[in-house]
Symmetry: C2
Subunit: 123 residues, 2 copies
DNA sequence: AATCGTTATATCTTTGAAAATATAACGATA
DNA sequence: TATCGTTATATTTTCAAAGATATAACGATT
């Protein structure tokens, strides 16, 4: 529409509003898109190392994410076991499932917000 | 409230939803909080180098931001003059003012969204 | 033409984060 | 007790982004 922001851009059709969303605790981010996917893959594979490999993330980083998550929660979201049959593994707790679900819903609302902002930009 | 996400966190009172917002063109971010502040300071000081210094940003980076902005717009947002009285300087165009205003309003709406999400988290 | 502080650009250096590598500890199973 | 693949942790290496530095070009004013 006349008078919109897109009018003053060189490539009006390729424009959109984008963003990122996360949950902070103690002033620092602890639960964004990365940890969500990691938890989901730990649930699927039963292993931190396999989940990390699937995401092409170093085991170290994955382990740090898990550790940080557990530290912020009243009860752990991942139960790791070093040693045992097949060398060990990790399982996620009901709290983790709850977190994942919540984040997914939140992201849907955020996606709507972004779409609305992108639409607004053009009119 | 019982059953909320905050119940399963170690520090429920310090939790909040946070995020970042920007405008993309051609798939890459070109207008976020940094450029906004830079444009505002160029307007105030009449100089890219002074604006950069105020933000403790290298002149190089500031110049790159300005260049990138100008490249994405149908008409430049910053008019630079090398040489002249006092060595030169830069002014911003009405298009720049429009962009700044729009981004400010957008950020206010985003702040409301984040507050609503933070509130939702706790109930 | 000499001066000024700025814009414009190239090049070198730093440095901090990510990745890669290595190694130890673990515990059920056979 | 030997094996397995995992968790747990430290150390080293790599690499790209940021920063620092240097230099040229610019043009109104004097």
């Amino acid at each position: 529409m006349a008078g919109s922001i897109t009018d003053i851009l060189k490539n009006p059709e390729s424009i959109k509003v984008s963003g990122s969303l996360w949950i902070e605790s103690n002033g620092q981010p602890f639960f964004g898109p990365g940890p969500v996917e990691l938890l989901e893959r730990i649930e699927a594979t039963g292993s931190i190392s396999m989940a990390a490999k699937e995401m092409k993330m170093s085991y170290k980083k994955a382990w740090e994410l898990v550790n940080n998550l557990n530290a912020q929660m009243a009860n752990p979201v991942v139960i790791p076991q070093a040693g045992g049959e097949k060398g060990g593994g990790s399982t996620i707790t009901p709290e983790a499932v709850k977190l994942i679900q919540y984040h997914r819903q939140m992201r849907e609302r955020f996606a709507s917000f972004l779409e609305a902002e992108t639409a607004r930009l053009k009119k």
